[in-house]
């Protein structure tokens, strides 16, 4: 594609230059011809006047030519100029060159005849002076010029063709580079990037944008790969439980109490798998969301209020009081993801809490950052588990594989969202007393907030 664009450019460019050169050539040659013709006319006029002046009426009613010696010389000096004198009766009485053919009727004024330019003037007694010049020499000179101009024009054309070839190669080289990198990427080499040389031309901007797109592609591919690895991983343990229980149940006759217990274990395992699948899908969505995140001004306190409203009934059910102390905080990001973040933190705070426990949400602004903290008076997290709480699939309450235990993805998802918003998240906790999650997010410059 680049090749044909280059050829097209070159052809058009050559066509235009060719037309310009042609026009120029024609103008030059024509201009030269006209100036030569003017010279000839001037010559003819001069000679014609001289002759007209030299005509004297004769006694017989005709005319006599009396030319001084200077005049004769003058006329003689114009080698291709010839003249013919006709008297009132149209008889040829004098001529410069016996070979000259005089026309039947001698028209007056300037005219071209047979490749010769002639001027006819009337004189005394109806005599007619005819002066003419052969134009073949002039024509020859114009042709010579035309040849030269043509040769030069062709040389110019060829040179500009060569120059154009070189220039288009240089100008379109970046396009070729971009095309190569994009092809490599499309064929599966996710590490292909367009080399950028630091010059500020138009292609560099395109290359930078494409490189960024390639980065996102690779990130998305990594996310997908990690998801399938995690999914396969996490589901295998409950599957192993099912397989073991089935094998055991079928290996011999059992009491119905044993069968019942076995079936209940299988039920728990299948529930666990369903939860893992749901959580994995959420994680995958949030992973890919983090790659394709929307960036608009979002008011964080509003997001917190929305999350609190959504969790109101669960909090009431568990007898947990939720208290908020919020300041207005504008950050750049995706409002639905931010609500999701607060929801996750809040859900943990409520679920891992005691009856009549308390959750305190604080949102403060300061030093260019919004500080959000979600503190609960719940069961807390052991110090040995604390470094791992944000890991995917990490569950502090390992022994509980029954109801209520998720796949351990809530905080991992929260961390993902916080990091996609260029923020930080940290967890403090004391076993038996409670847990506090602290989130810091960068604020937008107040001047750049556009209220939509």
């Amino acid at each position: 594609m680049v090749e044909s664009l280059r050829t097209k450019l070159l052809l058009w460019y050559t066509l235009i230059i060719g037309l310009i050169v042609l026009t120029f050539a024609i103008a030059v040659c024509y201009g030269f011809w006209r100036s030569l013709v003017e010279d000839v006319d001037r010559d003819l006029q001069t000679v014609a006047f001289v002759l007209v002046e030299g005509l004297r009426p004769s006694e017989s009613g005709g005319v006599d030519l009396e030319l001084s010696r200077q005049y004769r010389e003058f006329i003689g000096r114009s080698p291709r100029t010839y003249y013919a004198l006709l008297n009132g009766r149209g008889e040829l009485i004098d001529w410069s060159d016996p070979d000259v053919q005089v026309p039947e009727r001698t028209p007056l004024g300037v005219q071209n005849r047979d490749g010769r330019r002639e001027l006819g003037l009337t004189a005394v007694n109806g005599a007619v002076v005819l002066v003419g010049q052969d134009m073949s020499e002039a024509r020859g000179r114009v042709l010579a010029l035309a040849e030269q101009v043509a040769a030069t024009g062709v040389a110019v054309l060829l040179l500009s063709l060569a120059g154009g070839w070189f220039l288009t190669a240089r100008a379109l080289a970046p396009a070729a580079r971009i095309s190569r990198a994009a092809t490599a990427m499309a064929q599966g080499d996710l590490s292909a990037r367009i080399p950028i040389k630091g010059t500020e031309n138009e292609f560099e901007h395109l290359a930078a944008v494409l490189n960024e797109a390639f980065d996102r592609l690779r990130l998305a591919a990594d996310v997908q790969r990690r998801f399938t690895a995690d999914a396969s991983h996490e589901l295998r343990t409950p599957l192993a439980t099912l397989a073991a229980e089935f094998d055991w149940a079928l290996s011999r006759e059992r009491t119905s109490a044993s069968y019942r217990e076995c079936i209940e274990t299988c039920r728990r395992a299948s529930d666990r798998m369903r939860r893992i699948v749901d959580d994995l899908l959420t994680l995958a969505r949030s992973d890919s969301d983090a790659v394709l995140i929307r960036r608009e001004p979002v008011e964080l306190a509003a997001a917190v209020r929305e999350a609190v409203a959504l969790l109101r009934s669960l909090a009431e059910q568990r007898g947990v009081t939720v208290v908020t102390r919020l300041e207005t905080a504008w950050i750049s990001g995706d409002s639905s993801q931010l609500v999701h973040l607060v929801l996750n933190l809040l859900k943990n705070a409520v679920e891992y809490n005691h009856h009549q426990g308390r959750v305190t949400i604080e949102l403060r602004v300061g030093a260019g950052r919004a500080q959000l903290s979600v503190a609960d008076t719940g069961i807390g997290i052991a110090a040995s588990d604390l470094p791992y709480v944000f890991d995917r699939f990490y569950r502090a309450d390992k022994a509980r594989s029954g109801n209520g235990a998720g796949a351990g993805l809530g905080l991992a998802i929260s961390k993902r969202i916080v990091e996609a918003h260029a923020g930080e998240i940290a967890c403090q906790s004391t076993l038996g007393e409670g847990t506090t999650l602290n989130v810091r997010l960068p604020l937008i410059e107040p001047g750049s907030i556009k209220r939509s």
């Binding site: 599957l239 397989a243 055991w248 022994a399």
Partner: protein, 218 residues
């Protein structure tokens, strides 16, 4: 024989315990790597079934450290990851066998038995001593062609003594290999079982080394 199952998923651990106890193994369970490492270095198990993904200390580390501490207990790695690299890594770290999840119970049990057999130096599953033919796969004992009925405990003690043929096995060792950590039994229970075995299989089979233990001569 006594086994240690190191698996953090409580349901899977319970299913394994249930199935293995039915096969006359005594089973201890550890729910994380730290506990697992402690148990394996402080108790003489006949084999360990070790999950790779564990909290606190992962299975690889437990294996490496146990081997570094001198433990020769056979280890079967149980894992959700079944890539070649994982198998190689496990075997290089000192595992004796590797099984991916999910697995068939029968295969797990067979592999565990094979590991124990190899650890004791045995080659075949059928052992003959005098007029006794012991099929360690089927847990049956034939005496002079006739089937001898043994209780699970009796059989286990017999198998232990047979595998340690020619070597002295102390009473406490027998105790450790027959009962799991939660067992509450009387201290003379081993003597009781030995007496029963002698009654059923002949008085000359098992020799007492007074004050130390028992031995079946090879």
């Amino acid at each position: 024989m006594r086994l240690l199952v190191v698996e953090d998923d409580a349901d899977l651990a319970a299913a394994l315990r249930k199935a293995l106890e039915e096969e006359d193994f005594a089973v201890d369970v550890a729910a994380d790597g730290d506990d697992g490492l402690f148990k394996v270095t402080h108790t003489a198990y006949d084999a360990v079934i070790l999950d790779v993904m564990l909290p606190r200390l992962d299975g690889w580390n437990v294996l490496e450290r146990a081997r570094a501490a001198g433990s020769r207990t056979p280890v079967l790695l149980l894992t959700a990851r079944d890539m070649i690299e994982d198998r190689v890594r496990g075997l290089n770290l000192g595992a004796d066998d590797y099984l991916g999840k999910p697995f068939a119970l029968t295969e797990l049990i067979a592999r565990v038995r094979a590991m124990i057999r190899r650890a004791y130096g045995g080659v075949s599953t059928v052992v003959t001593i005098g007029d006794l033919t012991i099929d360690t796969a089927a847990h049956t004992v034939l005496r002079g062609g006739g089937r001898v009925a043994l209780t699970a405990r009796e059989y286990t003690i017999l198998e232990l003594l047979v595998r340690s043929k020619g070597k002295l096995v102390t009473r406490s060792t027998i105790f450790e290999h027959i009962y799991d950590e939660d067992a509450e039994v009387l201290s003379n229970v081993v003597a009781v079982h030995i007496a029963a075995l002698r009654r059923k299989l002949g008085m000359t089979l098992i020799r007492t080394c007074r004050g130390e233990g028992y031995v079946i001569d090879g």
